[in-house]
Symmetry: C2
């Protein structure tokens, strides 16, 4: 049965440039967001992982939220870097508290409402 | 181990409008694409399913390809309707022939090269 304690993965694209020039030195915005999230308090059932490229480069920085066979998977974009760590933490905290991945619209932050890139149904597709 | 015969799902958004007006009568472009695919020859390891809304409405019609714990999941967009059934069938046939979901760039159709909305790593994320 559905269980809001089921493990959740927060995947962060570490190669996202967020529109930064290709010759800019130092860590990319996606890597900075990932590092900032490593220093952020996340729910116990959330695992943070860095991934190279979600093929959403025109709308990076990007993250993906997924968790088990019963939750919808979500891709969110247009984060700008480390300064969005708290915004991402808020979103994944709400997602991880659900059994199906569906956070009520009224509970989503403005950024999450406006920057959903795509969602993918759970393996057990609801009727 | 990886197995190109592992089952693949071709998910088609049946609510996509592909830019059609909201007051247009009859089945939506996404539904027409889904119905055309039902009449199309697909590999034996592919299951076609209709899904309502991938939250990719600005770039529909949309499809998702996924298949097991070892393949990348892909969302493709900007299909126009039933007339793209053969194009989608070609893409899913190539995807279903892979063990990891990664179709070489040179083998992808122009549409698939240009209209990847997002990709999500397999559960077993490659290093």
């Amino acid at each position: 049965m559905a269980d809001a304690d089921a493990p959740v993965e927060l995947l962060v694209c570490t190669t996202c440039r967020a529109g930064a020039p290709t010759d800019q030195e130092g860590p990319r915005p996606g890597t900075r967001l990932f590092e900032a999230l490593q220093a952020t308090d996340l729910p116990a059932n959330v695992t943070l992982r860095g991934v190279e490229c979600f093929s959403n480069c025109d709308h990076g920085c990007s993250i993906t939220l997924r968790g088990g066979d019963e939750r919808w998977t979500y891709v969110y974009g247009n984060f700008t870097g480390a300064e969005d760590a708290e915004l991402v933490a808020d979103g994944v905290t709400k997602y991880a508290a659900t059994a199906d991945g569906l956070v009520p619209w009224r509970d989503r932050s403005i950024h999450f409402r406006k920057n959903c890139i795509a969602r993918i149904p759970p393996l057990e597709i609801p009727e």
